[in-house]
Structures are given as C-alpha cells and as structure tokens.
C-alpha cells in the first residue's frame, strides 16, 4: 500500500483539495504533489510508521485550511476591470461606425484611438479584440469604397444601398455590445 492510500493521508489530502478549489488546477496539483512527497519523505526519514507516526507528520504539516488559505492568498487577483473606462472605450468604439461613414474627419481619429485603446485594455482575449477591430474597420472600408469604386459597380438598387448604409455603421456597435458581454463574464 502506498502512503497516499492510507485513510488518514487520503482524508488529509482530500481536505486540502476541497479547500483549494479556488486555485488553478496546475497550482492545486503542484501543492497536493508537494504535500504528498513531504508526507512520504517525512515518514521515511523519521522511520515512523503506523497510524501514530502518520498522525504526527500530518499534525506538523498543520491544518489543511491554513495551508489552503496561504495558497489562496498567493493567487494573483483577477485583473481589475474599471467599469467606467470599459464603457467609455466601448462607447467610442460604437461611435466610430456612424462617424467614419458620415463624418470621416472625426471618424478617422476616433477609430485609431478606439483600436489603440482596445488593444491596450487587459480584459479581453486577443481573439475578441481581433473580431472587434475587424468590425470597426468595415465602415471606413465601406466609405472608402464609395469613393474609389466607379459609380455603378456595386449598383444593386437604392433599397439595398440604404440598407447597407444603415447596417455598416452598426457593426462597431454590435462589436461593442459583444465586448461588453465578455468584459462582464471574463473567461
């Protein structure tokens, strides 16, 4: 029988595992492996055996809750998300859509600022930042295409054009809503 199968040790390690549920799996497994090794080594070196020997080693290790509290105290806190700044950033991002299409002189700088701000913010994954950036770039590309492409190339009727004109500026708004959702539920 290995030492971890002994009921006293098993119950001790199970308590540590339960109390460290808040740790990352990697940290938790490391801690459990360290304690397991400690118990085995301490018993070998003290030539201790039997229930009393094991009780002594576990008593010196200390209360599992104390160990868990120490480990959890070391866990870096989740990055603080400043709600005001998040909303300001997302508001700016949402505004770039209408601005770049209808007021390009304001829209250009706003777009550059929003994208720069987005990529320096800590609380989204790069994948989500890339999605939002792509959405934010559609309106300026659309606006530019209206200048560059010869009139009539994309002529598919006034109704479709108006529809596109309404949808395109809304893409950054949709991206902002998407990011807001992920800022509230960080992975």
């Amino acid at each position: 029988m290995t030492i971890t199968e002994h009921p006293l040790v098993k119950s001790y390690l199970a308590t540590v595992a339960r109390e460290t549920a808040g740790l990352s799996p990697e940290r938790r497994n490391e801690l459990l492996a360290d304690l397991e090794e400690h118990i085995a080594v301490a018993l070998t070196e003290k030539s201790a055996s039997g229930d009393d020997g094991i009780r002594g080693v576990l008593a010196r290790l200390g209360d599992p809750r104390t160990i868990a509290a120490t480990a959890l105290g070391d866990e870096p806190p989740a990055p603080q998300v400043n709600r005001g700044r998040t909303l300001a950033l997302l508001g700016l991002l949402a505004a770039t859509g209408p601005l770049t299409v209808f007021v390009p002189l304001l829209g250009g700088p706003a777009l550059i600022g929003a994208i720069w701000w987005l990529w320096t913010a800590p609380h989204w994954r790069n994948r989500d930042k890339a999605i939002a950036t792509a959405a934010a770039l559609v309106p300026p590309l659309f606006a530019v295409s209206q200048w560059v492409l010869p009139a009539g190339t994309l002529n598919s009727g006034l109704g479709v054009f108006v529809l596109v004109l309404l949808i395109v500026p809304l893409l950054p708004v949709a991206a902002a809503v998407y990011l807001l959702r992920w800022a509230q539920h960080p992975s």
Partner: protein
C-alpha cells in the same frame, strides 16, 4: 484534524504578520548554502521556533518563489523513499536575498529605536 501543533500556542497576529514578511528571505538564505528539499528545509527552519508553525504552508511559498523565478526545482532520486524535489537559488534569488540582507539591519535598528525605552 488535531488542533494546531501540540505544545505551541497559536501565533499572535504581530508574529504572523512579521513571519509573512521575512520567511521567504529566510528560505532564500538557507538555500544559499546549497539545494535543499522540502523536509530538509523545514528541519532547518524548525530549529528556530518562531519561523514555522504549520509546515505545510511552506509549499505555497516555495511555489510562489519558483513562479517568481527566485528558485528553481528539480527532482532527484533518493536511496530511501520517494524522489525529492530540490529547490535551488537562481541568480534573481541571490539578488533578492542580497537586497534584503542590505535592508534588514536598517529595518531592525529602526524598529529597535522606536520600541526600546
């Protein structure tokens, strides 16, 4: 579980706060002598009563020192019992210890200055 460690009073708040601040440097100082494994390290620390009350708490601390790059670890087989995880100072660990060693006498003198009559 048995209540705390037999014969030792539950550490006071001041003691516990102080230990939190200095324990890692004591660990680094012990490792300056050469690589040690957990049980060995605890025996050295335990020789001075005040340093460790709950031995298991040293492992989260060692894990943090490793993640901070102050120590590195490797497993080594032992003639008896399981392989031991040895902890060894890195250059950053040496530097952190050196810095603390320089600060500590001033700190100790300053505290002494205020608390002695």
């Amino acid at each position: 579980m048995e209540p705390d460690i037999a014969g030792k009073p539950v550490a006071g708040k001041a003691e516990s706060q102080l230990r939190k601040g200095v324990l890692e440097y004591c660990v680094l100082a012990i490792l300056r002598e050469g690589p040690r494994y957990g049980v060995e390290l605890l025996e050295t620390l335990g020789a001075v009563n005040v340093m460790v009350t709950s031995q298991g708490t040293i492992y989260p601390l060692l894990s943090r020192l490793r993640r901070d790059g102050l120590v590195e670890t490797r497993w080594q087989e032992s003639p008896s019992g399981p392989p031991r995880r040895y902890y060894e100072l890195t250059p950053s660990g040496h530097a952190a210890l050196k810095e603390f060693t320089a600060i500590w006498p001033h700190f100790r003198d300053a505290v002494d200055h205020f608390i002695t009559d």
